[in-house]
Amino acid sequence: MTPDQWIALFAGIVGGALRVGTPFLFVSLGECLTEKSGRINLGLEGVLVLSAMAAFAGAYLGESAWIGVLCGALAGGLLAALHGVLCSLPRVNDVATGIALMLLGTGLAFYLGKPFIQPQAPQIPALELGGWSSSPAVQSALQINMLLPLGLALAVLLWWGFTRTRWGLLVRMAGDSANAARALGYSINGIRILATTVGGMIAGLGGASLTLFYPGSWNEGISSGQGLIAVALVIFARWSPLRCIGAAALFGGAGAIGPALQSVGVGWGYHLFNTVPYVLTLLILVLTCKPGSVAQGSPGELSSR
């Protein structure tokens, strides 16, 4: 390969880390908040797909990308609230509910989203940070989703909230020791429903950046399991919102290897390279999990640790 191709490849991977990593960041932050309160939401996959559809539909019908973003967050919050309420019923298991919502969310999105497969919706404007370079590959790589700064701010805000505020402490208490929270007279279910709902809204922003920035259109293959990878990402980030940023960038970059190679003319193994994020997740789990012990930083009340 020529040096230009190397630059293009590298820029493609960095650009991918920024573009593909943005939805990863939002879903992992959403999942992080949910898990901090003591529940796992496997249904974030459904939340992501439904909010991606809602965001696209909102932007198309409302003729503004920001209306779309709002619709995405609302749809995500709504579906996640259903998860929160269902899990509060006696004898209802959060993992099984997550699987159900995965099915329901994708089904609803495909059902309601049929009319939106063809048209074009207004997109979230890009921040052009690549003006200093003359290489078009670098320039296109550094077109940044306007939601990305929001996601970064949200990560810092969550980190600050968990450590410094009363609300953050309550969420962590519900997640670490339900009995302690109960003893102080707080409603565990209330806290968890709220945390799950807000987590779903954050994940909904990830759905919005899928359909309104990159890839930038609505189709039924829009998500390839990002919502589920989020669960593994949070384990990898050891339940820290700040570490979610690095994890999301790493996974975005890994997911961009296949397309980046294809763009410089290496078509071999496209599908194999697309499995890199999953292989990476599995490897990380193998390296970080130990049998019979609990991962560091894991909330004490999580059902499947």
Binding site: R91, N93, G107
Partner: protein, 367 residues
């Protein structure tokens, strides 16, 4: 009385409620719900043609549901059946292509065993990762499913591709003699028999064999299992392997009986629908048979809804999702003490003037 009725009554009520909600939903789309319910029934069970379609879909559903049910009895939530199915189909096509096999029964058995082995290894890996590396099996099985699908696409579109398949990449077709035919000249293939036999055999094994009982002990109370010295890890991995073998067999049968080669249509959500079927059947292999037929029927009716009423093809997915939510929510009703609840309601309604006559409630009052 009550203990024997609730396990059946709750799922039936939940599915009825799901159909009701689904009816309300399609009413918003401007379609008459009555028409939808009738079409659902007609498309699923209304004619011999519909029955053939239904049973054809029920066969892989039974097998993928077993991939959830057997590990679930050992205490695991495995949701990666789709990966085992895809690999099973791939193994079937690869073996048929690379090994000279005799036509007829023996050859068909060999390709099916190849598929089952591939699936068994894949899900057993998830069980092994859980037992020996402490990785949550729900997540690992799903990741493994995505890896399997990527691997499948790579081989089907690359090294294993039949050069003659132009628009739709596929492997070489199985030779005529290896394919699995219909039962008595119908469209329903022998995969259905395999599915039913697998459900019955595994059901009997879980219920009445020593090793099946051991697996249920491991799933029910790990501490007890350890105290009586059961080899928990081995049992868990065996359960995973058995479940995976079923899903792999489903893939092999789909290839050998329906698609005749491995191509992307093999990835058809059967693995995920199997999760739903298993949960409704409460992970009971025998109960999987009727539930799989019901949901095979919904799948078969889906295309009819699309053709006749113009509903999106995802309608069935929505119905499945709603049904799943109701099934889970109905679990909360299982422990409700109806007698106490009625007494409380009667108290709230004011002092009942007449003697506490036994009200005509059909079930659940005999203590």
């Amino acid at each position: 009385m009550r203990n024997s009725l609730t396990p059946v009554a709750l799922p039936v009520l939940a599915i009825a409620a799901a159909l009701l909600v689904f009816g309300v939903m399609v009413a918003f789309a401007g379609v008459n719900p009555l028409e939808v319910w009738t079409l659902l029934f007609q498309g699923a069970f209304g004619s011999w043609f519909a029955w053939q379609n239904t049973l054809q879909r029920a066969a892989p559903l039974m097998l993928t549901a077993l991939c959830v049910a057997i590990p679930a009895r050992a205490g695991l939530v495995i949701i990666g059946g789709e990966g085992a199915l895809v690999l099973g189909g791939l193994a079937c096509a690869v073996v048929a292509r690379s090994v000279p096999l005799p036509d007829g029964m023996v050859g068909s058995v060999v390709v099916c065993v190849a598929g089952a082995l591939a699936g068994a290894l894949w899900i057993a890996l998830a069980g092994w990762l859980r037992q020996f590396r402490g990785i949550n099996e729900t997540i690992s099985s799903l990741l493994l499913a995505y890896i399997a699908i990527g691997f499948f696409k790579h081989l089907v579109e690359g090294p294993m591709r039949d050069p003659a398949s132009l628009n739709k990449p596929a492997t070489n077709s199985l030779s005529e003699g290896l394919r699995i035919g219909g039962i008595a000249g119908s469209e329903v293939h022998w995969g259905l028999v395999l599915g039913v036999v697998a459900c019955v055999v595994l059901g009997i094994w879980l219920r009445w064999s020593a090793s099946g009982f051991a697996i249920r002990v491991v799933g029910g109370n790990l501490r007890t299992a350890q105290l009586v010295g059961l080899p928990a890890s081995q049992l868990v991995i065996v359960a995973c392997a058995l479940g995976g073998a079923c899903a792999g067999l489903a893939g092999a049968v789909e290839v050998a009986a329906v698609h005749t080669n491995a191509n992307a249509s093999l990835i058809a959500f059967y693995g995920y629908a199997g999760i739903l079927v298993s949960f409704i059947a409460r992970h009971n292999p025998i109960a999987i048979i009727p539930v799989a037929i019901l949901f095979g029927g919904f799948g078969a009716a889906g295309s009819l809804l699309q053709r006749r009423l113009g509903l999106p093809d995802a309608s069935v997915l929505v119905l499945q999702g709603i049904a799943f939510v109701f099934i889970l929510a109905s679990e909360a009703l299982r422990d409700v003490d109806w007698k106490a609840l009625r007494a409380k309601l009667a108290q709230l309604a004011g002092p009942a003037p007449q003697a506490p006559a036994p009200s005509p409630v059909p079930e659940g009052n005999t203590p």
